[in-house]
Assembly symmetry: C2
Homo-oligomer: 321 residues x 2
Amino acid sequence: MLLLVGRQAEIESGLASRLGASDPLRQRLEVIDAPEVVAMDEAPASALRGKRRSSMRLAIEAVRDGRADACLSAGNTGALMAISRFVLRMLPDIERPAIAFQMPNRRGGTTTMLDLGANVDCEPAHLLQFGLMGSALVTALQGRESPSVALLNIGEELIKGNDTVKQAGVLLRESGLNYVGYAEGNDIYGGEVDVIVCDGFVGNVALKTSEGLAQMMGQFIREEFGRSLVSKLMALAAAPVLRRFKHRVDPDRYNGAALVGLRGVVFKSHGSASPAAFEAALRRAHDAAGNRLLDRIRDSLEQVRARSGAPDGSAAVALSP
Amino acid sequence: MLLLVGRQAEIESGLASRLGASDPLRQRLEVIDAPEVVAMDEAPASALRGKRRSSMRLAIEAVRDGRADACLSAGNTGALMAISRFVLRMLPDIERPAIAFQMPNRRGGTTTMLDLGANVDCEPAHLLQFGLMGSALVTALQGRESPSVALLNIGEELIKGNDTVKQAGVLLRESGLNYVGYAEGNDIYGGEVDVIVCDGFVGNVALKTSEGLAQMMGQFIREEFGRSLVSKLMALAAAPVLRRFKHRVDPDRYNGAALVGLRGVVFKSHGSASPAAFEAALRRAHDAAGNRLLDRIRDSLEQVRARSGAPDGSAAVALSP
């Protein structure tokens, strides 16, 4: 069952033009009317306080009320985060939500990176929590038990990272996670490690830098193949190969970032996602809920708490900043 | 005149096999014997204290003593930075040296980014100083007066950056530089701005992430064109275009990072640079010295001091953290 939350009339007319009323697929869709819309450039606080009947708010409330197992939105990220946090609340012992994204890597798999922008100043304990959540996410989405976790840091040659990263390394080493040490920026694409943990400022810069470089390289390829009649013929000759290359780095396939740390499964699609990209994100949200992402995060937290010897129910020292 | 600093016997025998003794080019080369070598993995402190006759030390001393206008090294970055700082000392009012690099951009030009790893925790005043130095570097290397300067920050949608970046924005706006506001990671490759300022942790991650992504895309192109006899034939057909593409993103052309903030011009080449890449770095070091990089940085500092109304000779408030 898929709940479509938004302006009912618009959704119904969109559906009517694509599906017959008796189509079995139509029977699996339910429309929930939400008269208000959160604008892409709206301040999160305004969306949270002023729009109690927005599609975003009602979709997240459906998760809270158990009507939905997961929420997927292609809307305003800041508003989605603020409303999710308010409506769903955080998991116990998780202080900050994080945005986690699966990046393609050289080995043909994906590397999960978090945080990508929800938090700018992180304490070591937050980075530990990101490690726990990223690890649980990889298990839920890829079925990989005990995925490897690394901390993003800078080169051997120079000053070896800041104090926060060093202290987070100590916490991760004691966490029971499969912590493998430091990674550098190039390791995001190397495929040697499953999860890379960093603060949201650094993660956002790495993601946006990658988008910018990929766009530049794509533009250069197009320009070179479009330069003359001869190079256009060469592009035609090489078209099948260029298509396969494009497929391998196609951002549509990697669409869908998880907002982790909440008491509910929430995913964010790119705002300008194609139908194929939106489907990829929907699949991720479905898999995360189906493979019990939240239970896995809770179990990991329990393990860290048990290892650190804290009494039942109280937060372990390592879990608080 | 080019001074070659290193193990004399090895350099002489290398030269002898390439140049006749009466070759006019040979007359423009002078060999300075340096019996000690700083290892690539050596701790900067050990290189600084223990190797007073290393090639790195003697080359930097040649700059200090006025025998050379600039130093170029392909060695250990941390050691190069530590020795440069000790031997040359910092420019007045500059507290931290920075590593600046010209990245290729979509418009066919370069975007200068700093710091790329010399400093992990920066105060707003350090970011202002990086802006001044980056601006002077672009003028010296590209002949562009009043280049645009932006601060690296994260997306509109989310929390708008950390306090350090916000405060640095205030200082830059008052600096007299052509400050244009915030940039995001993708703007590094957009070509809309000449200088992008960030702390060394973020800059290093952005640089390494770019290296990793470029390697992955290069590998995917090679794999797809090498997959079968047919695709190999397609690669052959498209070879001239692929070569032109490769040339546009060839890291050799962009080799040569400036260590700015010192009382002398010091450049760092990639450790595994090809001869062409080393030549590109040598050209950058030559241009920086020839176009009075240090005077330009000093003039910028004077202007900031004058604008902030501080008495002559004393450091302006904005220039200290």
